[in-house]
Amino acid sequence: MNPPVFVAGLGVVSAIGLDAAACLHSFETEEAGMADIKILHTRQRGKLPVAEVKLSNEALAELTGLSSGMPRTALLSALAAREALADAGIFNFKDLRAGFISANTVGGMDKTEDFFESFMMNAAAGKLRDVVYHECGSITEIVADHLGINHFISTVSTACSSSANAVFTGARMIRHGLLDLALVGGADALTRFTLNGFNTLMILDKSFCKPFDEHRQGLNLGEGAGYLVLVSEEIMNRLNKSAYCRIAGYSNANDAYHQTASSPGGTGSFLAMKNALENSGLVPGDIDYINLHGTGTNNNDIAEGTAIKLLFDPVYPKMSSTKSFTGHTLGASGGMEAVFSALAIRHGIIYPNLRFETPMKELPFTPVTKFLNHQRVKHVISNSFGFGGNCTSLVFSAS
C-alpha cells in the first residue's frame, strides 16, 4: 500500500482569473479568457486570439515582489506558487524537507527574443541580462530562491505534459519518503517563439477553440501557472485544515508514434489513463469526471476520444476541456488543470466545455456544456498529452 499524498493548498493564475477564486467565478459565469492579443508584442496581433493573463509584467512584478525585468514565466510562476503556499498555510520551511518541482517549456524565451534582435545584427550587442534566464531551470530557481526552498528543486520539460509530470514527480518523492512537502506544477508565458511555432503547424483556431466538437478548427494558446502543495499524511495532520483531495495515482506512457502527431488509436493516451487507474486501485466506473487534454485540434481530440472510448465504453463519466476557458497553456496546463481537478472535488462541480455544438461522429459521448453544481465528484482523471508522444494522466480522489 502506498502512503497517501494530500493536496493541502493550491494556486492558479490564468486568463480567467488571477487566483483560484477568480477562476472559479469565471467558470461559473462561463466567461472564456480568449481575446485579441493585447500584451504580447507580435505581428500576429489581430490575426489570432490568445488567452493572456491580463496584467503587464510591471503589474505582476508588483504583486509578486520580483523585479519586472524577470521573464514573464517566472512572474506567473511566483504568483501562483505563493498563492498555493499561503492557501496551505505554509509560511516557512523550517523542519520540512520541502521540494519545488516546477515545469515550463519556454524558460526565459521572451527575453531571449529581445536579445536576439540585437545579437543578430551584432554579436557584441544585446543586453546580457536578457539571456541570463534563458534556461527553463532558471525560472524554477528565481521562484525557489524567492520562496526560500532549497532542499530539493527540479524542473521538468516534456512539452504540453510538463507540469503534470512535475505533479507526479512530487507525489512520488513523498510516497518514497524523500520529501515532506512538494510544491508542484508549472508555468508558461506566451512568447512569439511558441505562438509562431504553433502557427507553423497550422493548428491554431482563428476563432475561439471548440474542443471535442465535430467542426473544431484547432487550439488557442494561453498562458498562466498552476501549483499544488502536496504533503505527507503526517504534515497534513499538522496543518490543522482539511485536504482538498488525495493524489490517488498517475502514469506516464509514450505514444511512440510521431514527434508531434498522436496515433489514431490514442495508444499513449489509453496507456496513461489505464495505468493511472491501476496505480490508483480504481476501475473506470469509479471516475466521476475527466478533465480532458482537449486542445481542440483535429488530431488530439480524436486520439484522446478514441482512447476514452476504448477504456470507458459503455458508461462514460462527465468530461470537459477547461482549455475552452484558459486556452492551451502548454507547460502550465497540467498544473492548472490539476488545480481545477482538486477544486472540482472540493466543491462538487463540473466545468463546462464551452462552444461545443456538434458531437464528433466517431465518438458515442459528448462533453458537459453547462456549469454543474451539487455533483458527486469523488474521483477525477486529468489528462495532459504533449509533443514527443508524452502522455500523462493524474488521478485525484476525495480524501
Binding site: G137, T155, V156, S157, R172, A256, G386, F387
Partner: protein
C-alpha cells in the same frame, strides 16, 4: 538506494564511444570550444529517421543505442533524460528565422525539434518504447535529477531504465556564453586545470546508462548513491555534506580510491575544489575530468561514464597514469559554478 549500471554509451570531446580508441588516444582539441567526436551516425540510426535530427538529437540517439547494444537489451522499461539547454541548434534556427522573416513564412521542423524532450522522445520513437518517458531540465542538476527519477522507477519495480544526459554547444551559445566570461580567451595548454585562468572551456556530449535494481551478470558497476547541494552557504558546508554522503553510503573515506573532480581551471570556480583537495580529499588521487570533456551543465554524465569504465575495466589509459588499482570505489564531486554540487559514489560489482 543503490542500483546497478549494466552498460553505458558516451559521446564526448574524447573517443568515448569506442573503448579501444579511448584507451589508445587522448583527443587534444585547440581553442576554447571542444567539439564532441561524432560517429558515422548511419551505424546507429536508420538514415530515413536521421534527416530531421539536429546534432544533439543524433548524439543522444547514438549514445543511447550504443548503451542498449552493450547490455544487449532491446527495450528499456523507462527512459529519463536530462538536459540543461535543450535543443539549442533548432531553437536558434527557428528564432533567427522568426526574427529575419518578421514572423512570416516559417516552417515547423526546427520548432518541433526544439522541444526539450526531443531526445527522449526520439529514442522512444525509434525503439517503439511505450514506457515511462521524462525529461529534466534543471541546469547543473539536469542529469542528477534524471538519475534520481530513474532510481525511483527502479524502486517502484521497473527492471531496466535508460537514463542519460545531453547538451550541445552551438555557434550562438558559444558566442553568448563567451560574453559572460565563461571561456578562457586564449588557450596555450589543453590541461586546463594545470594553472588558473579566468574562464574554462566549452564542452558538450551525450551520456547514457542502463540501470537495473537487480545484480545482473555482466553489470559494470554499482551506483551506491547520488546527492545534490544547491547553493551551499560555505566551503565547509560542502565538506561536511561529503562526509555525511559517504557515511550514508557506508563507505569510509579511506575506501575511496579515486576522486573525479569537477574543477575546470577557472580561478573563482575552483576555489571550492582547492579547498576540498586540502580537506575532504587530502591524500586522495584526484583527476579533474573536465580537462577531457570541457565544461557544461551535464558534464557529470561524462564523469560517471569515466568512473564506470575505470572501475569495470580495472585499468586506465596510459595517458591517464595516476590511477592505481585495484580500484573499488570512486567518488565524483562535480559542481557547476558553485551553485549546483553533485556527489556520486560508484563501486565495483
Amino acid at each position: 538506494m543503490q542500483v546497478y549500471i549494466r552498460s553505458s554509451g558516451n559521446i564526448s570531446p574524447q573517443h568515448s564511444l569506442e573503448k579501444d580508441l579511448f584507451f589508445a588516444h587522448r583527443e587534444m582539441q585547440d581553442g576554447n570550444r571542444w567539439h564532441a567526436v561524432e560517429p558515422e551516425y548511419s551505424r546507429y540510426v536508420d538514415s530515413k529517421m536521421i534527416r530531421r535530427m539536429s546534432r544533439i538529437v543524433r548524439m543522444g540517439v547514438a549514445a543511447s543505442k550504443a548503451c542498449l547494444d552493450e547490455a544487449e537489451v532491446r527495450m528499456p522499461s523507462g527512459i529519463v533524460t536530462g538536459t540543461a539547454y535543450g535543443c539549442l541548434e533548432d531553437t536558434g534556427i527557428f528564432l533567427r528565422r522568426m526574427i529575419d522573416n518578421q514572423e512570416e513564412l516559417l516552417t515547423p521542423t526546427a520548432f518541433i525539434q526544439s522541444t526539450h524532450n526531443t531526445v527522449g522522445a526520439q529514442i522512444a520513437l525509434l525503439l517503439k518504447c511505450h514506457g515511462y518517458n521524462n525529461t529534466i531540465v534543471h541546469r547543473g542538476f539536469s542529469f542528477e535529477n534524471a538519475l534520481m527519477d530513474a532510481m525511483l522507477l527502479l524502486r517502484e519495480g521497473m527492471d531496466n531504465v535508460l537514463a542519460g544526459a545531453i547538451d550541445e554547444i552551438t555557434e550562438d551559445s558559444h558566442a553568448i556564453l563567451s560574453r559572460f566570461g565563461l571561456y578562457i580567451p586564449a588557450i596555450d595548454n589543453p590541461e586546463i586545470t594545470a594553472k588558473t585562468h579566468k574562464g574554462s572551456v566549452a564542452g558538450e556530449g551525450a551520456s547514457f546508462f542502463l540501470l537495473s535494481s537487480q545484480e545482473i551478470h555482466g553489470a559494470r558497476a554499482i551506483l551506491r548513491g547520488i546527492s545534490t547541494i544547491y547553493k551551499p552557504e560555505s566551503l565547509a558546508g560542502v565538506e561536511s555534506r561529503i562526509h555525511a554522503f559517504l557515511k550514508e553510503s557506508s563507505v569510509l573515506s579511506d575506501g575511496i580510491g579515486l576522486v573525479l573532480s569537477g574543477a575546470n581551471g577557472d580561478g573563482d570556480h575552483d576555489e571550492i575544489d582547492n579547498y576540498l583537495s586540502a580537506t575532504a580529499f587530502r591524500n586522495k588521487t584526484i583527476v579533474p575530468f573536465k580537462q577531457l570533456c570541457g565544461e557544461y551543465p551535464t558534464a557529470s554524465g561524462f564523469a560517471l561514464w569515466l568512473a564506470v569504465l575505470l572501475i569495470s575495466e580495472q585499468k586506465t589509459p596510459d595517458w591517464l597514469p595516476n590511477v592505481s588499482f585495484p580500484l573499488r570505489n570512486i567518488l565524483i564531486h562535480n559542481h557547476y559554478d558553485n551553485n549546483h554540487h553533485a556527489l556520486y559514489l560508484i563501486s565495483a560489482c
